[in-house]
Chain length 152, copies 2
DNA sequence: GCTTAACCTAGCGCGCTGGTAGGATTTATT
DNA sequence: AATAAATCCTACCAGCGCGCTAGGTTAAGC
């Protein structure tokens, strides 16, 4: 698996925030109910987005969250990176000194590490895919085929 | 993390087999010692490659493994797919009926699922990266900077 | 018939993931 | 001032998948 549930939940959260305007903050409780996700767990997810500066928050009654920037200016690689910590194809890409998985990705054996070449390409492919997608696209996509009831 | 150790070990195994000619089978024991990997675990890894038709084997004394095809004709997406089972960005891409991670990737909510659009793009990016790399490239790369002792 | 190897299957420890619990703090409303 | 609504923080926990081991069976060479 490439991504964990934090990415799934976090992206859904961002899309939902993008669907709302930034005029008034949206409470997590409302978001959790709209998406059918556990509120307490979402708190941990949204905390990552806040620390990354992607969403802003207001505490107290009628508080909540809103996007820090316009959806057009948020590329999904920022979002996923914030949620997942890093986008690494293999253990030793993130943990310098390999644990568990035996790895010799340093050029110590006298020859270039072939797998590292491969994983680097994959990583590039993933990051490029994410960079080329903006939150605005996802928000737009989520509106497709939606009953235009709000426009009444 | 995108890939597990099976992918790492399996790719290394394929590269090592590619470095050897197909004229004589190479024993797993020799491969395990060359790469410093646990033999018994490699057995499980190589079994996947065999079942996928990527390597062939001979039992008994002086038996071992060799590539089923020329390295130029083996694209790494076949290899990784065989090792990992599937290349899916998210739980519900592989397990039809989602377990654990709450997912509504079916277009049941009346609107298109925005995250599915994103994960599909990512999946495409990964698979493309893998398809564009052949085993021959990795074998070639692994020879770089190697003392040309065998050519003496 | 001994050795060497591929092949098979069951099991196990540990860490990480997904989620809960319970609170402390901040702000609006009455 | 009191209450309610919300963010924020930290500790904790159960389950399970991953990496790996153990112990065998079968097949081929010498």
């Amino acid at each position: 698996m490439i991504f964990s549930s934090k990415a799934e939940y976090g992206v859904r959260l961002m899309v939902e925030l993008g669907r709302q305007g930034p005029e008034h903050p949206t409470s997590l409780k409302a978001l959790a109910e709209a998406e059918g996700l556990p509120l307490a767990y979402l708190e941990q997810v949204v905390a990552r987005l806040r620390k990354a500066g992607l969403v802003m928050s207001a505490r107290g009654a009628h508080g909540g969250y809103w996007l820090a920037r316009a959806p057009e200016e948020i590329s999904m690689d920022e979002v996923v990176q914030a949620l997942e910590g890093s986008i690494a194809p293999m253990e030793c890409f993130v943990n310098e000194h390999t644990e568990r998985v035996l790895c010799s990705h340093e050029p110590d054996a006298g020859r270039g590490c072939a797998t590292k070449l491969l994983w680097t390409r994959v990583q590039g492919g993933v990051i490029r895919s994410l960079q080329q997608t903006t939150l605005a696209e996802l928000v737009e996509f989520s509106r497709r085929g939606e009953p235009a009831s709000a426009a009444a």
